[in-house]
């Protein structure tokens, strides 16, 4: 169409009709992209326009800008007042270009991550030592009666970590005791050595498995809970509030949890030992044909107090490791929900791994001193 006022400009009138809203703009945009013509003067005629919202107005403004960039010009005609206001409102916005996201070299990124990971391990070591130190100071302050122990918190945590965990730990250990007795008994019975099952289960569970199973369960149960609790307190600035009140977050939050775990884990280990022996007794009675009195006298001969004490002696150390790792990870949580999940996962994985490592170290120590 030729313009009325002069021959220099080609004028195209485009009717803007129907609904231009967020629902329709995705379909409309591709169909109108080719209407941009260099050198032309575009007239957008809005007299048949249905609904217009921000997305639609943005699409129109975008077309006008493209037309300008292509060396043409454009104008609006016949738009209702609200529509014109909306377009005018949007016109000055979104002009500035967003900074491009930085491109990273994958090789450099990999190297950097490996380096950060390695440095992170060292940092974790420092954090562990520092948290252990702070907790010890807090503990000695309590021992020297300079500070009072928060017994209410301790007992509350013992209830959470120990008492409420008894059913699951007993059940799990009972089943493991049964499995070991059945598997061991199956092979031992072919030598006619059914009775040795009692030695096997007694020594194995009381020395190693009872404490290990319990510690792993507690790392997953209470360790995760502690990280999540401390982490969400960190996110909501509750930890900062304690600090500002002149209280030590380690003394108020970490120490009661640590003490509770150190008390809870040996008790739970005993529960686990007893449950595993009960499992073995059931399998012995019904599967291997070992009468109860024989089972008990054999157990008395095979299982010395030393075995039980060796198992129990590891529990407080494992408890301390679980508690410390959980607390450290909790304190490392930053503002986002993602970070909370990440640190809770890390806490459980690290705690279980360290529990197994500790068990190995103890095994070496006991082997060296010959008990």
């Amino acid at each position: 169409m030729r313009s009325a006022d002069g021959a220099s400009n080609d004028v195209t009138v485009l009717g803007v009709a129907g609904d231009w809203t967020v629902e329709t703009v995705g379909e409309v945009l591709p169909t109108v992209a080719d209407k941009v013509t260099p050198g032309h003067h575009l007239v957008f005629d809005g007299s048949d326009l249905g609904r217009l919202d921000t997305a639609g107005a943005w699409a129109l403004v975008g077309l006008m800008r493209q037309q300008e960039e292509a060396g043409g010009s454009s104008e609006l005609k016949g738009f209702s007042k609200p529509a014109a206001t909306l377009i005018a409102e949007i016109d000055p916005l979104g002009r500035e270009r967003l900074p491009e996201p930085e491109r990273v070299n994958p090789m450099a990124w990999t190297l950097e991550e490996v380096g950060r990971g390695a440095a992170g391990i060292i940092d974790d070591g420092y954090l562990l030592i520092s948290m252990m130190g702070e907790a010890s100071v807090a503990f000695f302050n309590v021992l020297l009666l300079r500070r009072r122990m928060r017994w209410a918190a301790v007992f509350n945590n013992i209830n959470q970590a120990a008492i409420l965990a008894v059913p699951i730990i007993a059940l799990m250990s009972f089943l493991v005791g049964m499995i070991i007795a059945q598997q061991g008994g199956f092979y031992l019975s072919s030598y006619g050595a059914n009775l040795l099952v009692v030695d096997l289960v007694g020594v194995l569970t009381c020395r190693e498995l009872g404490v290990l199973l319990t510690a792993i369960m507690i790392a997953g149960r209470s360790g995760a809970a502690y990280t999540a609790e401390l982490g969400s307190m960190k996110m909501r600035e509750e930890v900062d509030a304690l600090k500002v009140l002149g209280l030590s977050s380690v003394e108020v939050l970490v120490l009661p949890r640590l003490v509770a775990l150190i008390i809870a884990l040996p008790i739970l280990t005993l529960v686990s030992n007893l449950a595993a022996l009960a499992g073995a007794w059931v399998v012995g009675l019904y599967y291997l044909g070992i009468p109860t009195d024989v089972f008990l006298s054999r157990l008395k001969a095979a299982l010395t107090v030393t075995h039980v004490l060796i198992g129990l002696s590891k529990a407080p150390f494992m408890a301390a490791i679980i508690g410390l790792i959980a607390s450290i990870e909790g304190m490392k949580v930053k503002g986002s929900a993602e970070s909370l999940g990440e640190h809770t996962t890390t806490a459980v994985v690290k705690a279980i791994f360290m529990v197994v490592v500790t068990d190995g170290i103890f095994a070496m120590i006991f082997a060296t001193i010959g008990i």
Partner: protein, 264 residues
Amino acid sequence: MADEVARQGDEEREAVISARDLVVGFSGEPILDGLDIDVWRGEILGVVGGSGTGKSVLLRTIIGLNNRSAGSIKIFGKDYDDMSNQERQEIGRRWGVLFQQGALFSSLTVLQNVGVPLREHMRLPEELVDELARLKIEMAGLPADACGKYPAELSGGMIKRVALARALVLDPDIVFLDEPTAGLDPIGAAEFDQLILKLRATLGLTVFMVTHDLDSLVTITDRIAVLGNRRVLVDGTFAELRSFDHPWVRAYFNGPRAEHFTFG
């Protein structure tokens, strides 16, 4: 469709939301008991009331986050209880909510946060989603370089603005604002008021606003509803409420902080 009628700007008052005989309570005494409230299309309604009178509870009940033990809520002329899941989802696109603490998704950037409703409800090219999200961020008065930041890096005022941008990104018919200016400095709060007025003028919004900010109440609300005794005590303009005879209402609208507002 109801909204087409409304966008033509009819003179008759149309209730976008009308609640009747609402009873809401959590184990024990009800917090709201026999409450009636209407929100008219195109108005800015301020809801005030003393602490614990259930302003936020009312807001959360209307948007379906709290259960009510009795009463009915009509939204865009339809009873909420009679709606199919499909209809409820569609309603979700037609309202926007600004939560008191912003409720931004902490693991997404500002741009992604604002883009969430677009991405989930609409089929739009990825580029357009980002453009529209950015447009709304700028309309909410934030600089474009805020787009790449995470919520944890934002100030309180910025969080409110991002949350408003997210509430408005689908151009809803109604927005619910829970204490939008709380925690903002007076300049920021005044800008926020102007922003809401401007958005209403351009987008034809209806606004349901829980607030305690007397300046906001005076400057932008068309009508104020006062909650008390578990229901709406009274509603009217600021000037009308000044002369209402109830101890709390009198103290609120004629107290030392309200004194300097004068009306011809």
